[in-house]
């Protein structure tokens, strides 16, 4: 824990008051008190506090929709930078030359909570039209240890709030609770183990006094899991492996003699969603490993590339839906599931929407995991001719085959050792979150329109080593990659619009009643018309946007906030697909806009 100075901490309330008086004497400032305690009741009803943003994905359904509308279709042209703040966390570590920013700020009663790539938490006072750092908690992440096994960048996607604590993760596997008022670490607990290739990049999900943690590391031979920590006792409540143990249901989908399941991947590094009406956590599961040599792991490889419905109390798997069985493409399904209810022919349909790395958007019935509809949301798909209308499986899927080949001429395999596929292995849609406008019933996907080249290396058991890559090949980037914001009408399951962008969408989306906000890794933050996707406003931050926008209000005024600092997987592994982005400098900065 790093204090700015004892003085700054002690005097923060006095200073806060001074700011408010200077700004015109609004006396409604409440110091942290019982009213600021984040309870399950508040988490269930974020709509009652529209000026706040208290969930990573804005609500339990992962809508990333705010009803604030001072900034709207008519006024957005007047949107300007209100204030900025430089953050830290770009130091190198392991195989990484610098960190980046992928986090979503949390906003509560005029204070923002943001993280940098190495997991430092910053509390920022946003009252009075400017940002003042209240405290910074530096977890002193073991950079060499964690950075050497972080496949895809030095990232941290943000915090959660519970009680009077700020709950965060570190890349080196810790869950940390920090006192909201003082910035002092209250307690911490090891959840993931970098010695096994496990790291944590996602924000925690708080459900009923538990922090739910997902793990990354499928490129390093982990066996993935989702874990629940009781925040009151700091003990683990449950840990559900995403790859069944020997004899458990689903273990029959790993048919090899190498025990490939034990290192079979199935990461869970994107924060999931929660349906309180059925007490179900819906969480996405990543790719199997080795990524590109699927002959090493014959069988469907459950529950990789799946969406899971888990009993929140026990962690038991209630249902699953797998998108790409026996995946030879690195088409993971870690993406968030967006929970949406729409009228159906026989009563309301309770859907879970997921936009997959494989280029298809899926709606499944979240009461039982059954396929409802699916469609491609990218311009180009070569690995399959389409989805089966009944099951949603790729039509070439053959359950009698141990090793799937899909469209064999383009599919990486031991007989097709170098091949070009679309989408490329970044997707499709990667971790950057979608947003859903419940008024318009439009779902907005941040798209990577891509193809890339895959080279297969045959995996053998002796190549599986702790903390070493376990990928069975690798991608290269001979093709230019672009992007889009693609809207899907959830009532019809059809594409309603596509706004193409010169670069892939690496940041994600915010929806408000009349607008959609997003960014570009070339620096632009933009606002689009929610119905037509026409660009209404744009500002160039001069950095690379790699994080989602969010919005909040304080002192009765609406703000849009976004972290800017290109990092992640892109500028190490995929930059050749976007050569113009090579000039984007590492950076670490919070931008806040207002009218």
């Amino acid at each position: 824990m790093e204090r700015l100075s004892g003085h700054a901490r002690v005097s923060s309330r006095a200073r806060l008051l001074a700011v408010v008086v200077a700004a015109g004497g609004i006396l409604a400032v409440t110091p942290v008190s019982a009213a600021d305690e984040v309870t399950q009741d508040r988490l269930l009803n974020p709509g009652k506090e529209a000026g706040n943003w208290i969930h990573h994905h804005q609500n339990y359904s992962a809508h990333r929709f705010s009803s604030l509308k001072e900034i709207n279709r008519d006024t957005v042209k007047n949107l300007k930078v209100a204030w900025t703040m430089h953050l830290g966390g770009i130091e190198p570590g392991g195989i990484w030359s610098h960190g980046g920013l992928e986090g979503t700020p949390i906003a509560e009663n005029g204070f923002l909570y943001v993280t940098d790539g190495w997991g430092s938490v910053y509390k920022i006072d946003a009252h009075g039209g400017r940002g003042t750092l209240a405290w910074k908690m530096d977890p002193k992440t073991d950079r060499d240890w964690a950075g050497a096994v972080a496949c895809c960048g030095v990232d941290n996607r943000g915090v959660a709030l519970w009680g009077d604590l700020v709950i965060s993760h570190t890349l080196d596997g810790r869950l940390i609770a920090t006192n909201k008022e003082t910035g002092q670490v209250a307690w911490q607990r090891n959840v993931a183990d970098p010695d096994k290739g496990e790291v944590i990049t996602g924000a925690p999900l708080i459900v009923k006094d538990m922090a739910i943690t997902g793990v990354a590391g499928a490129e390093y031979g982990i066996r993935g899991w989702i874990a629940a920590t009781d925040l009151k006792t700091q003990k683990e409540v449950w840990r559900t492996h995403t790859i069944p143990g020997k004899g458990e249901p689903g273990s029959e989908t790993w048919k090899d003699a190498n025990n490939s399941a034990a290192a079979g991947g199935g990461s869970t590094w994107v924060t999931g969603s929660y349906d309180p009406s059925t007490d179900t956590i819906v969480w996405g599961v990543g790719n199997p490993g080795p990524d590109w040599d699927n002959a090493y792991r014959p069988g469907d490889n459950l529950y990789t590339d799946s969406s899971l419905g888990l009993d929140a109390t026990t962690g038991k798997i209630k249902w699953h839906y797998q998108h790409t069985p026996n995946d030879p493409y690195d088409y993971d399904s870690v993406a968030e599931n967006v929970l949406v209810d729409i009228p159906g022919p026989s009563g309301p349909l309770k859907l879970a929407l997921e936009a997959d790395r494989n280029g298809f958007a899926y709606a499944i019935d979240r009461s039982n995991g059954k396929f409802v509809w699916g469609l491609p949301f990218v311009k180009k798909v070569t690995w399959t001719k389409g989805l089966d209308a009944e099951t949603g499986k790729p039509i070439e899927y053959d359950s009698s085959k141990q090793v799937q080949t899909y469209v064999a001429s383009v599919t990486p395999s031991r007989t097709n050792m170098e091949t070009d596929i679309c989408p490329g292995n970044m997707g499709g849609k990667n971790w950057p979150p979608t947003a859903y406008n419940p008024d318009l019933k439009l779902w907005y996907i941040p798209v990577i329109e891509s193809c890339n080249r895959i080279k297969v290396e045959v995996a053998t058991p002796d190549k599986l080593k702790p903390r070493e890559f376990w990928t069975g090949g690798g991608p290269s980037q001979p093709f230019t990659i672009t992007g889009s914001v693609t809207a899907i009408d959830v009532t019809t399951g059809k594409v309603a619009g596509k706004m193409e962008t010169p670069f892939p969408n690496l940041g994600g989306i915010l929806a408000t009643p009349e607008l959609v906000f997003s960014g570009q890794p070339s620096g632009e933050v933009m606002a689009l018309d929610a119905k037509t996707l026409q660009k209404l406003w744009e500002f160039n931050t001069g950095g690379g946007v790699n994080a989602p926008p969010m919005t909040f209000s304080v002192d009765g005024k609406q703000y849009v906030a976004i972290l800017v600092g290109l990092g992640g997987a892109w500028d190490k592994w995929f930059i050749d697909a976007t050569p113009e982005l090579k000039k984007i400098q590492p950076g670490s900065m919070l931008y806040v806009f207002a009218l």
């Binding site: 060499d144 240890w145 010695d195 190549k463 702790p466 890559f469 990928t471 997987a569 592994w573």
Partner: protein, 178 residues
């Protein structure tokens, strides 16, 4: 792979440099090279242990298994390797100084990427000396080697400790289970 004469690169190449280095007893003469290995982010692709390997992006070759000579390593670092992900680290390579007899235009699509930082001739030599002395020909990475590389309190080396103990543990386990 094309290997042009090193002389064509205008690099000074005293054949005795390595021999000289290995005579210095007081401190490790290759520590300058280790610093370059970290600073130029050779680790980013080849890992701290030099084994490189697999991966999500380029497939950096193992420097532990390399058969290159000091001169060849200096050339590889200076000029990169055309048509691969191995960057060049010499300022002016493929511009003022041709590499493999090529300038940028001639190399065209084969042009290797540019290193994140340019190295002086002295630093290129130092990193080559370091590779020769500490990486080339070494077997599997060890705990001692890892601790020497990082010389900090990171837990990055812990797995090598347990690995070193593995044969014993395995033997004990086997004995018990019989």
């Amino acid at each position: 792979m094309l290997l042009a004469s090193v002389v064509a690169l205008n690099l000074s190449m005293p054949g005795v440099a390595y021999g000289q280095s290995s005579q210095a007893p007081a401190s490790d003469p290759t520590s300058a090279g280790k610093a370059v290995f970290a600073k130029a982010n050779c680790m980013g692709c080849h890992k701290w242990h030099g084994n490189g390997g697999g991966g999500y992006g380029g497939d950096a070759l193992s420097l532990r298994k390399t058969e290159l000579t000091r001169e060849q390593i200096i050339e590889t670092v200076s000029c990169g390797r055309p048509g691969t992900g191995m960057p060049f680290f010499m300022r002016g390579a493929y511009d003022e100084t041709k590499c493999h007899g090529m300038n940028r235009r001639e190399a065209s699509a084969q042009m290797p990427p540019e290193g994140g930082t340019f190295l002086r001739t002295k630093d290129v030599e130092a990193v080559a000396d370091y590779v020769i002395a500490h990486i080339k020909g070494a077997g599997e990475p060890t705990y001692a080697e890892c601790v020497a590389f990082f010389s900090n309190t990171s837990r990055v080396c812990d797995i090598y400790k347990t690995q070193a103990q593995k044969p014993e543990d395995a033997a004990v386990g086997a004995a018990r289970s019989q």
